[in-house]
Structures are given as C-alpha cells and as structure tokens.
C-alpha cells in the first residue's frame, strides 16, 4: 500500500517536472494548517495547489485541502484542476473521486446567479441611479471572479469606474482591478493601476490605512518583473502590520517580512541594510515575525557571510513553496551569494583561495568556477592566480586610468575629426551611394552576380562593371 502510494507520487512529480515545475524534496519548516490560516480569499486555493504540486512531503495534504477549498467556493475549473492533480498523486484518497453532482449543481447555480445579476443590473441601468449601477457592476464582477471568469470580472470592474463618485469608490475600483491583475500575473498592469488606490487628496488617516496595500501590491509587481531594488523599497515602506493583516488575500505580514528582507539583502549595501532595514522602526514589526530573516541580515551587516548564507539556505525550501517568490528564489539567492563574496573580498587586496573555500564552499560546486563566472560577468573585479592559489583584486590607479583615457580620447578625436571632414567632402563632391527605389533593377551588367536578384533587395546598386580590380581576398 505504502509503496503503491510512493509510485503514484513518483509518477505525479515526474509529470510535474516535465512540465517545468519546481520540485522541493525537503521537509519545509512551515505547518500547512497554520500557514494557510494566514490567508483568505482566492489566494488560499492558489497557494494550496502550488504546495501540492511542488512539495513532495506535503503533496497529498495540500492537494486534499485544495480540493476541499475548491468545493467551498464556486469555481468549477479550480475543482477540476485540483482533482486532476490528486487523481494522479493519490488515486486511493476519498478526494480523488470526481464529484459529478457537485459540479453540475454548482455550474447550474452559477449560471442562474449570473443571469439574475445581469437582469438586476439592467434594471438599475434603466433607473439611472448611479450608486445602484456601480453596486450592480461590482456584484456581477465579484460573482464572475468567484466562478473563475477573470476577464468578465475585469470588464465588470472597469465599468464601475464611470459611476464611482467618492474617493473610497475610486479606491475600491482600483483594488478590484488590481486583484484580478494579480491573479493574471499582469505586473505592468498592476504597476499602472497601483497609484489609483491612493488618490492624492486622501486624508492622512485614510492614506495610512491604504499604504500597506498599495506598497505590498507594488512590491509584488516589481518582484514579478524582477526589479528587486524597487520591490525591496516598496516592501520596506509597507507600514503598520496590523493594517497589513487586513489585506491577507494578497500576502501576509510574514510574507512582507520575507520578501522585504530577502530583496533588501539582494539589492542593498551593508550600511543601507543597517539604516533602512534593521533600524527601520515600522519594518522591525514585520521582522519580528520572521526572526531568521532579521538574523540573516544582521549577520550580513556584521560581515559573517557564511552564517548568513547558511541561515538562508536552511529556509530555501520554504521560500520555494511561496506563490510569488518561487520563481525568483534561485535568482535572489545567487545575487545574495555574489554580494557576500564581493563584500567578503572588499577589505583585501589578495586572498588565498583556500580561505575563500572555507567560507563559501558549497557541497558539489567548485568555488573557482563560480568566481570565474563572476569575473566574466563583471560582478567581481579580481583575477585568479592559479599557481599560488590566490585571488588578486584589481588595483585601480586613477592616474594611469586618466592617462590611458586621455590618450585614447585624443586618438579617437583625431580619427573622428578626419572621418567627419572626409564625409563632408564626399557629400560636397556628391559621391554618396544612392539608393534607387525602383524595384526589379536587379539584372544590370557588371560583375556583381546575385545580389541584385535577391528578393526585397532591389535597392542594391550594382556598381559599374568597368573596374579592373578583382575582389579577391588573401586566397
């Protein structure tokens, strides 16, 4: 029985891997039940399904929870998705039985409710009451979103806009639209709309309440478009965690701590980290929820790079199971690692490779190849002495650089000046090569075979055939 289950799981994850999914073998530190309690809304199902598809130890639990979650909602497609997974991963589970009755009933009910809402909306429109029309659109949009018709929902939300009259209405519209875009992973769209959730004429109190949402969403969008520095800045400015908790359909305060901390580590220098992260009073509240991040950052600031990397590495599997972070984990980790190496080397002019290996060695990976790739990419300004096993920093001598630069400037000036005069003279002598816009001029005389006949290249001017020069190379 147990081995049977193992085989099913193996088949499932092989399929997942073939689809390009991430597979996490290690047991994560998170508790599924507690974890999912942090969230509400449609995000819950997405997270459960993701964990089910990626984590080997949590696969069945997560998928089961996903099926239950889907059946609590109205989105039939989600149920099908979750069922497809659990059908392969654990056919013996009770949740693996396809619930036809529920599907039919829900589909029918959805249809009826949609019609009902549309009819109501029509009624509101006939009555020309702005507020009712807005509410009608909103209800329809929310319903469509809950049954998984995201495009329809987005349309309905957009139609709310003309009837939005107060600031809170406008904010409401913006937030609904962003909600859809987040689900569709439309990061540029999110960034374009994010300012609309904080109109400039808000009172300070309202703004304080809106800020967590706005910064969080903008941060996610920047993260999604791989602009880590901007993203880190947004997360660090999220503000009050209590207000943040209110928006846990997007991300939890714990997530903000992880995203903000990791991205800050990946994009900021040491003094910046100290100033903007560790000494940041409002962000400290977040960091308290994820002490390992705070520890990693303070390790980095205190130059204990190997300890910092070790902590992060321990939590890698957790981060890999995060809905928004998953794709970027390896990228961010390697950025942090590179920064650690560069920072480690900063005070030295010359370091033995052995001592570097002691600090940064990764099981199974040679540090030297990593260093070489860093040097090649320009991230590390140093060179390797393979004989004495040293890493030698490039010394910069500004005077020499200036001298070389000066000579180069003069030479290029001379070259370019001559060339410009030459071109003026050519223009004055009317010697430019002219294009002929007449097509089909190709078959002219002269030794220029081929080029003239090429399709679309009728503009090629065949040079006069009178030349006596052979166009031969060295051969």
């Amino acid at each position: 029985m147990a081995s049977d289950q193992q085989n099913h799981l193996l088949a499932f994850f092989t399929a997942m891997e073939n689809q390009g999914g991430v597979i996490v073998q290690d047991v994560p530190k998170l508790d599924l039940g507690l974890y999912i309690e942090n969230y509400k809304g449609r995000s819950r199902f997405d997270r459960l399904l993701l964990i089910g598809q990626c984590s080997v130890p949590l696969c069945l639990d997560a998928l089961k929870a996903a099926v239950i979650e889907a059946k609590q909602g109205k989105d039939v497609q989600r149920y099908r998705d979750a069922w497809e997974c659990i059908r392969v991963a654990g056919p013996n589970e009770p949740e693996a039985q396809f619930d036809d009755a529920w599907v039919n009933a829900t589909t029918k009910a959805n249809k009826i409710f949609t019609h009902q809402l549309e009819a109501e909306l029509k009624g509101y429109k006939n009555n020309l009451i702005k507020e009712s029309i807005r509410i009608g659109h909103r209800d329809l949009g929310e319903h469509l979103e809950s049954i998984g018709n995201l495009n329809g929902a987005a349309d309905a939300y957009v139609k709310m806009r003309p009837d939005a009259s107060t600031i809170s209405h406008i904010v409401d519209v913006g937030r609904h639209i962003i909600g859809i875009m987040l689900q569709k992973r439309d990061w540029t769209g999110v960034l374009a709309n994010v300012n609309k959730t904080m109109p400039p004429n808000m009172t300070a109190e309202e703004a304080c309440h809106e800020q967590p949402y706005q910064k969080m969403v903008a941060g996610l969008a920047y993260l999604g478009s791989e602009k880590y520095a901007e993203a880190a800045k947004c997360f660090l400015e999220t503000g009050d965690p209590k207000a943040c908790k209110h928006y846990n359909d997007v991300a939890s305060p714990n997530d903000v701590a992880i995203y903000g901390g990791l991205l800050a580590l990946a994009s900021m220098e040491r003094d910046e980290l100290q100033r903007k992260v560790l000494d940041n009073a409002s962000f400290r509240n977040y960091l308290e929820r994820e002490p390992q991040i705070r520890k990693a950052i303070s390790m980095f600031v205190n130059c204990r790079y190997s300890a910092c990397l070790e902590i992060l590495e321990r939590y890698r599997s957790d981060y890999l199971l995060d809905l928004y972070l998953q794709k970027h984990v390896s990228n961010i980790f390697s950025l942090i690692r590179k920064k650690c190496i560069v920072q480690y080397l900063a005070p030295f002019s010359c370091v033995t490779l052995d001592s570097m290996t002691a600090v940064f060695a990764k099981p199974g990976g040679s540090l030297e190849t990593e260093l070489i790739s860093m040097i090649k990419s320009g991230a590390l300004k140093a060179r390797i002495d393979a004989i004495d096993k040293l890493l030698v920093m490039d010394s910069s001598d500004p005077r020499v650089a200036m001298q070389i630069n000066a000579l180069e400037t003069i030479r290029s000036y001379e070259r370019e000046a001559l060339e410009r005069v030459r071109r003026m003279s050519l223009a004055a002598a009317d010697l430019e090569v002219r294009g002929t816009y007449r097509k089909g001029l190709g078959g002219g005389t002269g030794g220029a075979g081929g080029a003239g006949g090429l399709p679309g290249l009728g503009e090629i001017l065949l040079d006069d055939g009178e030349s006596g020069y052979g166009v031969e190379g060295l051969s």
Binding site: I375, K376, R383, I384, D385, A386, I387, D388, L390, V392, D397, V400, A401, Q403, I404, A406, L407, I410, R411, Y413, E414, L418, E419, R420, V421, R422, R423, M424, S425, L426, A427, A428, A429, D430, L431, E432, V433, R434, G435, T436, Y437, G446, A448, A451, L457, E459, I460, L461, L462, D463, D464, S467, G468, Y469, G470, V471, E472, G473, L474, S475
Partner: protein
C-alpha cells in the same frame, strides 16, 4: 632646335619668382607656348629630344621636360629612338619633377601618369615607385584622392609591389575631386594652398571619380594591408567602405564585399566584431547584415568558448567563403581563434599553468585541445613575440611552467606618457590645414552666406517683434539669482 630650346628654357626665368602673381603669369604663359609648340613642332621636339633632354633639368624645367616626353610618348613611342632611352627619361622625370610647377601641367601630366599606371610601359616595381613618388610630389599632404591613386593601388596590389606604394596608401584621404565650392584658386602656385584647390578636373590633374571608384580604392587598400597582414590598417580601410555615406537606402556591392572583409579583419585585429561607428547609415547596415549573415554568425561564434560551434560555422560555409574570395582570410581567422581564447584568460587569471591553458583553450583547426604542453608554450611564445600578449612564461620551483600575465594597466612612465602626448598633439596640429581648407570651403559657399545673412536679419527683427521667439536669448539675461544680494 635652338628656337625650341630657348622656348623650353624660358621657364623658370632667372630672377625673382617668389611672388605668386608673377609666378602664375609666367607659368601660364609658358604653358601656353609649350602647348602651341607641342601642336606645331612636335616632330622637331622628337628629332632633337636627346639634345634637348641634355640641356633640361627635370627638377627645374619640369614643364618643358614633360612636353618633350609627351611628344615622344604619344600617340605612340617613336620607332627611331630607343625605347629604353625614353623610359629612362620618363622615370627620371617622375622621380624628380617640381611639384609646384607641375600644378600647371594639367592633362599632359595626367596622361603620363596614366601611362605609367597602366603598367605596360615600365616593369611594375618601377612603375609603382615612380607613380607613388609623382603623386606625393604633386600633393605632398596626400589628402586628395585622384584617379592616379586608383591606378596606383590596383597596380601595386595586383602585381604585389606593395611596399613602394605605401607612402601614398598610408595617407588619410579627406578630399575628393569635384567638391562643390572648390573653384580654382586665384593662383594655383600658392604654396599654402590645400591640394583640393589645384587638383581638379578643371586643372586637368585628375579625372572625375564616381562613388564606386572611391569605394574600390578603399577596398583595394584594405586588401593590400591584408596581404601585408596589417590587420589594424586593413580594418580601418574596410571601415571606410562600410561607413561610406549613402542616400535613400542605397547600398553597393562593393560595400557588401567590404563589410564581409571588415568583419573578418576585425576578428583578427580586435578579437571581436565591434559595432559600426555612429555615423554609419542605419538602413545600409541593416542591408549589409542581411547579406553578410554568415559572417556575422561566424563573428558571434568567434567570441565564445564553444569551439565546436565556431568550427561548425567556419566549416559549413566553406563554399560561401570561397565564392566571396575570403577563404584565405577565414583561414587566418580560424588559426587565430585559440590565440584570442588564450588572451581572454588574462581577464580572469594573473598566473595560470601551461597545462591548464592547454585544457581550457581549444584549437579551431582541429576542434580539440593541443596535444602537448610544448605546443601551447610555442603558441604563447609566438603571441608574446607578436606583441599580442603581454606576459612571460616562468617556471615554478616544482618545475611546472606557467604564464604570468602582466597587468593590462601596466602604465607608461611619466616620460613615455609625455612623449606620447606630445606626439599626438603634433599629429593634431597637422590636421589644422585640413580644417582650414574645409572651413574656408564651407564658409564661402553661396548657401552658407545666404543663410548667414538671413539669420543675421532675423535675429534683429525678432527681438523687436515677437518676444516668445527670442526666449532662448533672453533666458541668459534673466537674473536667476535675483533673491541673493550681489557681491
């Protein structure tokens, strides 16, 4: 004969000819007499040529000397005078004539140069040297392209007599015949004149050139340098072909050829295919890149460590290289692949063992690593000797040989830097006459003067009438620091 001789010896007259005006008048009159004599007394000139040559000095009586040569050589060499004698005189003349005087020589000189450039009269090595000397005598700056340049370049390249032609080919060409607003100067003999002012179709010292001929000249120059394996110079020459100004999306077959060679030579001289300078016409480059696709791909593979990819690119397109006449260059490129790989190691290592280099770099000829460490060592030695690589091969205590790269920023000493700076400053000084000539040409063109006059008028009237148009001018006058007390 005496009458002839007296006419021929009449110029330059004894006495003071320093004044441009007197010189010009005397020379013009002399030319007039000579051409009359050539027309009427040609037979007499031929008959007494030996004696006449004896009294004339080619360096002093250049115009007269040329007239007799002309009478002898055209329409064909006379049968009754030994050919060697005429040719000897011809060479003497070409090597010795007075450049200032011959600015008046016009068509006869051009015909003579063409006869030499055709390569039929003289052995090629002599012809190339004579022609090159003559061109530089006429235009010591060498900045003006003439039809004789074309003859010289092709003759030198085709007969492989490159060395004597180099003084001419090495010069930077910046002027071309037929430039607008280069009306002949008042006195052609003015020594301060830029060559563009006296070499023109009007003075008969060059023929009219077409754009294709200019392109061909640069292409042939490039190939000449290729033959000498001077890749840097070749690259510059091909670059002139590639960046040749074009209009209306035009492109020429020669430019395509030049583009292909330019890429290959760039690989040899710089190890990569660099982008074209900013003044290149964008549409042309697009066309070129489409037509030179194979070459661009080859260049892209050249800079990678993937030897198989590069070898594949080079081998698969053999037919293309052959058809374009570039097989030889491609071979050179393939041979240099490993050298550039070794060179790229200096960005990563300060010291690296020979064995390691052997493992890390592969030869593009075989697609594999070299067999022995000794081969690698020989390769590195040759690179160091060529000056391509700055480094030394050293031996460790335990006997492992290694290459130590010298720092790429190994700085010149202060003295060296100073010398270099002075040298380049002097070179910049040499550009002044070119700038002056160009300035003069542009500033005296009819269009510019018209525009300048109009601009002058507009400025004044606008200030009074429309304050918004003169905004730019006014912003300077505005007191931006108004709030601060004046100090």
């Amino acid at each position: 004969m005496d009458r002839c001789a007296s006419v021929l010896l009449a110029f330059p007259p004894r006495g003071d000819l320093t004044d441009n005006e007197t010189y010009h008048k005397a020379a013009s009159a002399h030319i007039h007499r000579l051409s009359k004599m050539l027309k009427e007394q040609s037979r007499e000139l031929v008959a007494f040529s030996t004696e006449l040559f004896n009294v004339l000095d080619p360096a002093v009586h250049s115009l007269s000397y040329l007239t007799i040569l002309n009478a002898l050589m055209f329409p064909s060499l006379p049968a009754d005078i030994p050919q060697e004698f005429v040719l000897e005189k011809l060479v003497t003349f070409m090597m010795a004539f007075d450049g200032r005087q011959c600015r008046y020589a016009g068509l006869p000189l051009l015909e003579t140069m063409e006869a030499v450039g055709s390569g039929r009269l003289l052995p090629p090595s002599v012809a190339v040297e004579a022609l090159a000397t003559a061109i530089l005598k006429l235009d010591p700056s060498g900045t003006m392209l003439t039809s004789s340049h074309l003859l010289l370049a092709s003759l030198a390249y085709n007969t492989d007599n490159i060395q004597p032609a180099l003084p001419v080919i090495d010069k930077d060409i910046v002027f071309y015949p037929g430039m607008a607003n280069h009306e002949n100067a008042q006195y052609q003999c003015d020594p301060g004149l830029s060559s563009a002012s006296y070499i023109s179709r009007g003075t008969g010292l060059t023929k009219v050139l077409k754009s294709s001929m200019v392109l061909e000249y640069d292409l042939v120059c490039g190939m000449t340098y290729c033959a000498r394996q001077e890749w840097d110079k070749a690259r510059a020459a091909f670059e002139r072909v590639v960046t040749f100004p074009t209009k209306d999306g035009g492109c020429s077959k020669i430019m395509v050829d030049g583009f292909k060679k330019w890429i290959l030579v760039s690989l040899l001289s710089q190890g990569k295919h660099s982008t074209t300078p900013p003044y290149t016409t964008a549409s042309t480059i697009k066309t070129l890149e489409v037509l030179g696709r194979n070459y661009v791909d080859l260049a892209a593979a050249f800079v990678t460590d993937d030897v198989q990819l590069f070898k594949l690119e080079a081998d698969n397109q053999q037919q293309v290289w052959l058809e374009d006449g570039n097989a030889g260059l491609v071979k050179e490129v393939v041979a240099s692949y490993q050298k550039w790989r070794v060179l790229s190691l200096q960005k990563i290592y300060t010291k690296i063992s020979i064995a390691e280099i052997r493992l890390q770099t592969k030869s593009a000829e075989t697609g594999a690593v070299l067999n022995k460490d000794e081969d690698v060592e020989a390769l590195i030695q040759s690179m160091i000797i060529e000056g391509m690589l700055k480094g030394v091969i050293e031996k460790n205590d335990d006997g492992t040989k290694f290459l130590a790269f010298l720092s790429p920023t190994a700085h010149p000493s202060e003295q060296e830097f100073q010398r270099e700076l002075k040298h380049t400053a002097a070179k910049l000084q040499e550009l002044t006459p070119i700038f002056d000539a160009t300035n003069l040409r542009l500033a005296t063109s009819r269009e510019f003067i018209k525009w300048a006059v109009k601009e002058n008028k507009r400025d004044k009237s606008n200030d009074a009438q429309d304050p918004t148009l003169g905004f730019d001018a006014q912003i300077d006058d505005e007191d931006l620091m108004g709030g601060l007390p004046a100090n």
